[in-house]
């Protein structure tokens, strides 16, 4: 399923300040915010925060994420009657929610990152193969793309997990099969268009091998669009992973992910709603920020939209 997330910032469509005529020149701040809309800056801030958390997770987590403290069960967050010893409160086993959140963000982001990398590699390779060979190979790849696109991925993922069992490695590879078909479609289209262009025909006439033409010349030229589509794939993988983990079929305990935390928190929705709300907010903020930045990048860098 292709998801067109549309245009989030209408301002970016206004012609960019060129500093040209007296009548069209704009104030410095206005020009700045037209290139960098405030919502994008906020989203970039959250992404930066998430990357910081991913990089330093075990260091900044105040407690061990598995450490239980049965005397301190279900304490609310600091601002809702709890103490600063546990800023986001504790869960049913007295585990510190902030520490669990930090580790969960790391796990969820790492899975989404590795999976998107797999999907990107797979998609670009198959898209290029289709563009290079055309004919039968292309038809076969297009058939695979159509088959993948016509099934809800959640069902495929559940079936594979049922048949093959679950391990973190298998789970990441499985998530890597999400979204490759969209990237393959884009890569194929762009590569076919690129082979007709002067630079590609020139290096071909110079005797470059197909590997060299596609890897060293076509790929860098179409990379920006591919990176944008991989960025937009990223939040969807987070949603898929957290959905499966929420059902108890994704990341397995004692490891934790954002979906797992929501899944365990739902049993305490009445007595301790923060257990569920804290990771939920983290999921929404992360996916929202990446989608906003992805859309903004697409509007800025995608030449096909100009």
């Amino acid at each position: 399923m292709t998801i067109d997330t549309g245009n989030l910032n209408p301002t970016s469509q206004v012609s960019r300040p060129s500093g040209g005529s007296f009548f069209t020149s704009k104030g410095r701040y206005r020009a700045f915010f037209e290139t960098w809309p405030p919502i994008v800056l906020i989203a970039l801030f959250f992404i930066g925060l998430a990357i910081f958390v991913v990089a330093t997770a075990p260091l900044i987590a105040p407690y061990d994420f598995m450490a239980m403290d049965l005397r301190d069960r279900l304490t609310p967050p600091a601002l809702f009657g709890g103490t600063w010893a546990h800023p986001l409160g504790t869960d049913e086993l007295g585990r510190d929610l902030l520490s669990r959140l930090i580790i969960s963000i790391r796990v969820s982001m790492m899975i989404a990152f590795l999976s998107t990398l797999i999907a990107g590699t797979l998609g670009i390779t198959l898209g290029f193969l289709a563009a290079y060979f055309r004919g039968r190979v292309e038809q076969l790849i297009m058939m695979l793309i159509d088959a993948q696109a016509s099934m809800p991925f959640m069902i495929i993922a559940l079936a594979v997990l049922a048949f093959l069992g679950n391990s973190l490695f298998l789970f990441i590879v499985l998530m890597g099969f999400y979204g490759w078909e969209r990237i393959a479609r884009i890569a194929r289209g762009l590569a076919i268009a690129a082979t007709e262009q002067g630079y590609a025909t020139s290096v071909r006439d110079l005797g470059a091998s197909p590997m060299r033409i596609y890897g060293r010349h076509i790929l860098p030229n179409i990379a920006s669009t591919l990176i944008v589509s991989m960025t937009l794939n990223f939040p969807e993988v987070i949603l898929l992973e957290s959905g499966l983990s929420f059902l108890g079929l994704g990341v397995q305990p004692p490891m934790t992910s954002l979906g797992n935390m929501v899944g365990y928190g739902r049993d305490y929705i009445q007595s301790a709603p923060w257990i569920m709300l804290v990771p939920s907010a983290a999921i929404v903020l992360t996916t929202l920020s990446i989608s906003i930045v992805g859309d903004w990048m697409r509007d800025r860098f995608d030449p096909t939209l100009r």
Binding site: D4, G6, L8, M143, S150, A159, L164, V284, S291
Partner: protein, 311 residues
């Protein structure tokens, strides 16, 4: 039109056999059924007898053909949990799932379509931005989070609606609403961008330049042309009516196909998982086929152009 239709049907059949083949491959990959059923410590004679009884000692292509044959006779094995036919176990859950997915589909279309069209026609106004902001949330808020938050508000805090189960029609309200909101956001987004693309076309300018009232331009020229991408996404939703509610059914303990699938996966009840997988595959292919045929009906160009292109 007949050739177009036949071509589409042939393609659908190819996809169906592809899905069956993939199910066969995954089933074989999942390990030796003899070891799974008999356990690794069973005597070698027992293995041999078991393999012979189930045809596992025959060449793989014979097994493959037999598998096909069995599926088209509806022989899909028994559920490992209660020994009943897997087809029957899944079949009795389908009406319950449809009871929430069909109303949810209506909700999605009835909210999403007008919202998307309205936003496109009033581009860059406050209402357009409001609709698009809400729709971004529909994309980024997972259904289980929305479901749990709705349950927290309407069941726990206000006590108006039950938070789980399927005893009365009131139990269906929250699941339907959760799926409806998220789907409406998706449809609104698609419809808006499809409409915007159409509204930028020269024929819209021509229609409005020849003096047609704007309402007629929209109804007669813009809407039919914007229908195609929207039809695709609605078709996908129709196809996932049976299994599109996996997460939401689990959130609200609704005993439909989705919850059955989750428990079957957790217990590795392979026969049930396989039936659901094939069932979803068939409904998706059927929905795609209907959408393809509708395309041909909505857009006469497709009936001829695609054939000439040979795809």
């Amino acid at each position: 039109m007949l050739r177009y239709a036949l071509l589409r049907i042939a393609r659908a059949l190819v996809t169906v056999s592809l899905i069956v083949s993939i199910a066969f491959v995954i089933l074989r990959l999942s390990g030796d059924p003899a070891i799974i059923i008999l356990g690794p410590e069973a005597p070698p004679e027992a293995f041999k007898a078991f393999r012979h009884a189930w045809g596992l000692d025959q060449p793989i292509w014979v097994q493959y053909l037999k598998y096909f044959n069995a599926i088209f006779h509806g022989d899909l094995g028994n559920s490992m949990r209660d020994g009943r036919s897997a087809l029957q176990v899944v079949g009795e859950r389908i009406p319950l799932t449809l009871a929430i997915t069909i109303p949810a589909l209506f909700l999605k279309v009835l909210i999403g379509l007008p919202a998307g069209v309205y936003a496109a026609l009033h581009r860059n106004t406050a209402i357009d931005r409001l609709i698009m902001t809400l729709s971004v949330f529909g994309f980024t808020v997972p259904s289980f989070v929305l479901g749990l938050v709705l349950a927290m508000i309407f069941a726990v805090k206000l006590g108006w609606l039950p938070s789980g189960g399927s005893d009365t029609w009131l139990h269906a309200v929250l699941p339907i609403f959760t799926m409806g909101m998220i789907g409406a956001a998706v449809i609104a987004r698609f419809t808006r961008s499809a409409m915007l693309e159409v509204l930028g076309q020269p024929y819209i300018r021509t229609a409005s330049a020849k003096g047609l009232v704007w309402r007629d331009v929209v109804v007669a020229h813009a809407l039919p042309n914007a229908a195609i991408p929207t039809l695709t996404i609605v078709g996908f939703m129709v196809g996932s009516l049976v299994a599109g509610a996996v997460v939401v059914e689990s959130v609200f303990s609704w005993p439909g196909v989705g919850r059955l699938l989750v428990t079957a996966v957790a217990n590795r009840d392979l026969a049930v998982v396989q039936v659901i997988l094939l069932f979803v595959g068939f409904t998706m292919v059927l929905a795609n086929l209907i959408v393809d045929l509708l395309y041909g009906w909505v857009d006469p160009r497709l009936r001829t152009k695609r054939l000439q292109a040979g795809t």
